[in-house]
């Protein structure tokens, strides 16, 4: 009986190990801690960051915030979100921005600036590395969900 329990425990530990535990490098989507939104679906995050529908589920307008330029975090975020390279994301956005169809995301130079911005703006939403998460922010979407 003890031997069986050991095998079950070992199997459970393997399953946990294989279930990709949260890594500090994971890209997470965050809002201000006081934002009433608790969770977003991938489709809703796509709508926000690809300029299709710029509101939270409660109807409040969202201010999407992007990292200026390129960078590994931005590259990973869009690759995981829509499977596109930054060149294709820029191409898509140039269609929206340069026709005046919608306001593009606000730009911040780095993750720290994004965190400062979201801490001050209740309706802002952006993406950061999990290691940068602090008590002023709330996670509303994770890619490994």
């Amino acid at each position: 009986m003890i031997r069986v329990t050991k095998y079950v425990l070992a199997f459970a530990l393997c399953l946990i190990a294989l279930s990709s535990p949260a890594s500090p490098n994971d890209v997470i989507v965050v809002v201000n801690i006081n934002n009433p939104t608790d969770q977003l679906t991938k489709s809703q995050v796509i709508d926000l960051f690809m300029g299709k529908y710029l509101a939270f589920p409660n109807g409040i307008k969202a201010s999407t915030v992007d990292i200026d330029g390129k960078g590994n975090l931005k590259k990973r975020f869009y690759q995981q979100l829509v499977g596109m390279s930054l060149a294709r994301v820029n191409s898509f956005w140039s269609r929206i921005k340069f026709t005046g169809r919608a306001k593009p995301p606000l730009k911040q130079p780095n993750e720290d600036a994004i965190i400062r911005f979201i801490t001050l703006e209740k309706d802002a939403i952006s993406y950061i590395s999990r290691s940068k998460l602090n008590e002023n922010l709330k996670v509303v979407f994770e890619f490994n969900e």
Partner: protein, 423 residues
């Protein structure tokens, strides 16, 4: 070209303008451009991007101007509901003025995510790419199909549009109504005239999922003025006796474009599957005037993406009926006796067939995303221009040769390369 170089150098001199500092202050400067080169092997025709261009790329020429564009945009965030946008574009306009290079200048009020109202100058939204055909980085092809976009000289709408967006399930429906006026140059073999249109009313619908989109557009416009060419032709014909030109007075009146309605319809769709994309659009243009014949145009394109590269094929066409001037039963023998009589006859023939575009193009191309904001593109077009169907092209030599067909049938190869960028 010197204007374009000056603009590019101006931009390079002020890279700090695109820095995030501006975003903090609510103002952002950005831009886009295309530095292109085009050449054709046509004996008769010169390539031009659309019928507004008075100059084109002729045989044995490498032309930069007709395919090079530079744009600057200023976005000003006034508050959460209000923002303003100004955009200036140089694209080898026939005249350079603040008015002619201003492609957008509007104030937007957007109280929530569903509603948006724009007042001022916005891009005209007749067909799928009408709003962004000058922004090369925004689409895969080196050149948008001339068959559809070459016939539309208009770039802007001075007026108002209202957009309503809604979501159900994973679909987004975007509907826009718009009204206003516009103007543009239309250039033929040896002249350029400004055409004004007003009473523009239109609706644009887009249903979008993640991997497909369906778009439908309907626009009605009214021509606000006659061209001086139309006026002189009408005046000339009205003075010819009916014995020589039957029903000359009613026919001369029918040449008037003033207050004539033109209707534009576009249906288009996109479908993405794996690394492939299928894109197609069909357009229909119809007018009350016999000067503007019914025109059907469209294209089908398939794109294969491979990492930073995209390879594509396009098949495009325009189709319209030519006007047969012999159906007027004009007595050309008697007409030729009066001074300028035959020039008038040929002028009517050319004018009545000016908008009758008939051609087909098969294209193969490649886009390489060199950087996240820089792409190299190359496209080879194989075009068959039907007899009297060469409206989309220029032919400068033809007027000096009496009785020569203005637009003969010809098969043309056009090679287009460019660098498209945003910043």
């Amino acid at each position: 070209m010197k204007h374009l170089i000056a603009l590019v150098l101006s931009c390079a001199a002020f890279p700090v303008l695109a820095e995030p500092l501006w975003a903090d202050s609510g103002i952002e400067l950005s831009g886009f451009g295309t530095l292109g080169l085009i050449s054709t092997d046509s004996k008769f025709y010169g390539y031009r991007r659309d019928i507004s261009q008075a100059d084109g790329a002729f045989e044995n020429e490498f032309d930069f101007n007709s395919v090079s564009i530079f744009g600057l945009q200023l976005d000003a965030n006034i508050n959460n509901a209000l923002d303003a946008v100004y955009q200036s574009v140089y694209r080898d306009q026939n005249d350079i003025s603040v008015e002619s290079i201003t492609s957008m200048a509007f104030l937007r009020y957007s109280p929530d995510a569903a509603w948006s109202v724009r007042l001022g100058r916005t891009p005209v939204d007749l067909f799928l790419l009408s709003e962004y055909r000058d922004i090369g980085f925004a689409y895969t092809w080196a050149q948008a199909p001339s068959e559809v976009y070459g016939m539309i000289p208009y770039r802007h709408l001075d007026g108002l549009d209202i957009t309503y967006s809604t979501q159900f399930s994973d679909l987004t429906l975007r509907s826009k109504v718009y009204t206003g006026k516009s103007k543009a140059d239309i250039s033929a073999v040896d002249y350029t005239e400004e055409i004004k249109i007003d009473n523009i009313y239109g609706i644009s619908l887009a249903l979008e999922a993640m991997n497909w989109t369906i778009n439908a557009r309907y626009t009605e416009v009214k021509v606000a003025q006659n061209t001086s060419l139309q006026k002189s032709l009408s005046q000339g014909i009205s003075q010819i006796p009916d014995a020589i030109w039957p029903n000359s007075t009613p026919f001369s009146e029918s040449l008037s474009l003033l207050n004539q309605n033109i209707k534009y319809v576009s249906i288009s769709g996109r479908y993405d599957f794996d690394s492939w994309q299928l894109l197609s659009e069909f357009t229909h243009t119809k007018s009350e005037s016999p000067v503007i014949p019914e025109l059907l145009a469209g294209y089908v394109s398939i794109i294969k993406r491979y990492n930073d590269h995209a390879f594509y094929l396009i098949s495009a066409f325009t189709d319209s009926d030519n006007f047969d001037i012999s159906s007027l039963n004009v007595n050309t023998q008697l007409l030729s006796l009066s001074p300028g009589g035959m020039a008038l006859y040929q002028g009517v023939d050319q004018s009545m067939n000016f908008y009758a575009s008939n051609q087909q193009t098969q294209s193969i191309g490649w886009r390489w995303n060199i950087k996240e904001n820089l792409a190299f593109k190359m496209q080879l077009d194989h075009t068959t221009v039907e007899e009297k169907g060469g409206t989309l092209w220029l032919n400068k030599n033809i007027t000096t040769i009496p009785d020569q067909l203005l637009t003969p049938k010809e098969t043309i190869n056009t090679l287009s390369t460019n660098l498209s960028f945003t910043f």
